[in-house]
């Protein structure tokens, strides 16, 4: 997918940085910045699913939030269908916002408890398509509820009357309400019970096929990401360290961090577990306020070279769309 340049990607993210200011000192001298996202570049083609994985604190959620426009980038840019979102007029930006929606991790926190389900789903329609009549909007709400496997009667109920899995469906219906093209899913199933997760994942896949959606899936569960994504990008401390087609990532991981990450995922098969060799990383994630020199991973890397401590490895393509940033490869 990486080489098809004829088509403009639906989403381009270029050298994106997002820093958060830490405690500004009383005398305004020492400013510390938390480098949540530190130069991230990727593209997504229409209809494709890109998975963004990494451990907590790696900046994956910040990438998603910056892409959707909830944060302003510190540097770099995000382009939707070839148009830089920072350089467009307000009305154009609103239009783009409509085409990019988000599904949130916590189905309890992301639904307003005082609004009925119908109002929750209808709100984005009211904002983006104010001329739509009430009757038409109600029909659309019913259609959306059906689409996510809920009943039209549910429209008059409140979020607390639903289970976690059903709430996540409501969140998905809300995201679909304005017919988006790109959906950023931030940990779509991690707050949902195991037996319900598959229901949600299958639904996301079916909706993608039916509505030709493009997904950016942000998650820490590597098995799930592998299952749902066409390509996967692995993040560590605000940077992408490896990005490749998902099957290839699992068969042929090249970055030492990716290897450690994959080897750590437990598999529900005692035979497989007995044979597996784990790569155990030592130490903890360094602070993104004060990241290490050179390659950010060198403090925990088991294949560290002298050059890793001094020089940051560049992202290179090794053919067939396999990108990796490591001096060792």
């Amino acid at each position: 997918m990486g080489s098809s340049s004829a088509q403009t990607p639906i989403l381009q993210v270029n050298k994106l940085k997002k820093y958060f200011r830490q405690d500004s000192s009383m005398f305004g001298r020492s400013e510390r910045w938390l480098k949540a996202v530190d130069g991230v570049t990727f593209t997504i083609q229409t209809g494709e699913t890109l998975g963004l994985v990494g451990e907590s604190g790696c900046g994956k959620t910040t990438v998603g939030r910056t892409v959707i426009g909830l944060y302003q980038p510190t540097a770099g840019w995000v382009a939707y269908k070839g148009i830089n979102l920072a350089r467009v007029t307000a009305s154009r930006r609103l239009k783009n916002r409509r085409q990019m929606q988000m599904i949130f991790q916590d189905p309890y926190a992301s639904l307003n408890p005082r609004m009925t389900v119908g109002d929750i789903i209808g709100e984005p329609i009211a904002i983006h398509q104010p001329r739509i009549r009430n009757k038409e909007r109600a029909d659309r709400i019913n259609e959306l509820l059906n689409m996510v496997g809920l009943n039209p009667e549910h429209a008059n109920r409140y979020p607390h009357e639903f289970s976690g899995g059903q709430r996540q469906r409501i969140g998905i219906a809300r995201a679909l309400a304005v017919e988006p093209e790109l959906i950023v899913c931030d940990e779509p199933v991690s707050a949902v019970d195991v037996s319900i997760q598959a229901q949600i994942i299958n639904m996301l896949e079916e909706l993608q096929e039916k509505l030709n959606l493009t997904y950016l899936i942000i998650a820490h569960d590597l098995s799930m990401v592998k299952h749902i994504s066409d390509r996967v990008a692995v993040m560590y401390l605000g940077k992408i360290v490896e990005m490749v087609e998902s099957e290839e990532l699992y068969n042929n991981p090249l970055h030492p961090y990716t290897r450690a990450l994959l080897s750590a995922v437990p598999i529900a098969d005692p035979d497989v577990e007995r044979q597996r060799k784990r790569i155990l990383l030592e130490g903890d994630l360094p602070s993104p306020v004060n990241p290490p020199s050179g390659c950010y991973f060198h403090t925990r890397c088991y294949r560290v070279l002298p050059v890793c401590r001094q020089q940051e490895p560049a992202m290179r393509e090794l053919g067939n769309g396999h990108y990796v940033a490591c001096h060792n490869v």
Binding site: S195, S223, P266
Partner: protein, 332 residues
């Protein structure tokens, strides 16, 4: 072998405004010395309540243990007074919780918290307890123990806090450790470190472990035996190999099929378990899994299935007259 723990017909309920929630409905299992027994199931299936009952930590009211017995080391824990229980908790039974930050006291140093246990149960003096604490920190892989012991919980990362908790659980060399979702809050690479640590310590000290988790992957690498719980009941038990490789309850099978596996071939659809877990306010006269079961027969909705195959599985499909259903495990 003399069994260490025998839970017999345990029943636990919670009185709420909506009615009486029967969280645990007559479960029975044993744990042998040095054995790792995993309890798996979804939230609300009663796995954590079972663990808390063993420690007698059910908040009461609203909770109440309404029946059964918990025989630990030959004595029924349900007949103990609170004072006697305090001598057991943290001493012969250790506990590791999911979220160490809520378990550790934020205003006391780690040293105070870890030595308290030792001074109380083992009657050590301050220096002895401190020496033992340093030793324990070495054991669980916390570098620079002398410095780290003087710090407060917030100065530790999530993985390090969990190590502290394991050190505290091990302090008095317990015969049994109850680990309630010990790695759920951790990242996978840290989870791998902690699981490796628990395994190593178990082999070294021959401590029995009750491992409570919803992650069948974690279970596969750790447990000797598995109990699968659903709606307050044990629906299937067996060795790890039996349960994960040849599940005989449709719920166990459903759990295995609904979670994507890292080593699976791409392009296969997941098979979800339909519907929702049942409401625990109701009494069950038939199998509680019927509404979600793809293999339900007419008897399943009429009578509660007994245990079949030598107390291993609670499902009518295992009746000799039931049609033979093969759960095909489609693994790459």
């Amino acid at each position: 072998m003399e069994q260490l723990l025998h839970v017999k017909n345990l029943e636990v309920e919670f009185r709420t405004y909506a009615g009486v929630v029967k969280a645990v409905r007559g479960i029975e299992f044993q744990v042998n010395p040095g054995e790792v027994v995993a309890i798996v199931g979804e939230s609300g299936c009663g796995k954590s309540v079972t663990a808390q009952s063993i420690m007698r930590l059910i908040p009461s009211p609203p909770g109440r243990i309404t029946g059964g017995s918990i025989i630990f080391d030959g004595e029924n824990l349900l007949n103990k007074t609170e004072r006697q229980m305090q001598k057991i908790r943290g001493n012969t039974i250790g506990m590791i919780f999911q979220d160490p930050m809520t378990y550790l006291n934020p205003v006391l140093t780690i040293a105070t918290q870890i030595t308290e246990n030792l001074r109380l149960h083992k009657r050590m003096n301050k220096e002895q307890a401190m020496r033992r604490a340093v030793e324990l920190f070495g054991l669980v892989g916390i570098p620079e123990p002398e410095i780290r012991l003087k710090q407060y919980p917030h100065q530790f990362s999530g993985g390090m806090r969990q190590r502290v908790m394991i050190a505290m659980a091990l302090a008095c060399e317990p015969k049994l450790i109850i680990a309630d979702e010990p790695t759920t809050a951790l990242d996978v690479t840290v989870q791998a470190q902690i699981l490796e640590l628990i395994k190593g310590l178990k082999d070294r000290f021959q401590t029995a472990i009750i491992l409570i988790t919803h992650d069948l992957g974690v279970v596969a690498g750790q447990a000797d035996r598995i109990l699968v719980m659903y709606a307050g009941q044990i629906v299937e038990t067996g060795t790890t190999d039996e349960v994960l490789k040849k599940p005989s309850h449709p719920y166990t099978w459903g759990l295995l099929k609904s979670v994507p596996r890292l080593d699976a071939v791409k392009g296969k659809k997941l098979t979800p378990i339909w519907g929702q877990p049942p409401d625990l306010l109701q009494d069950f006269t038939s199998c509680p899994f019927v509404p979600r079961c793809d293999y339900a027969m007419s008897i399943c909705a009429q009578q509660m299935p007994p245990f079949f195959n030598g107390n291993k599985v609670r499902c009518w499909l295992n009746h000799p007259q039931a049609p033979k259903v093969k759960f095909k495990k489609e693994v790459s």
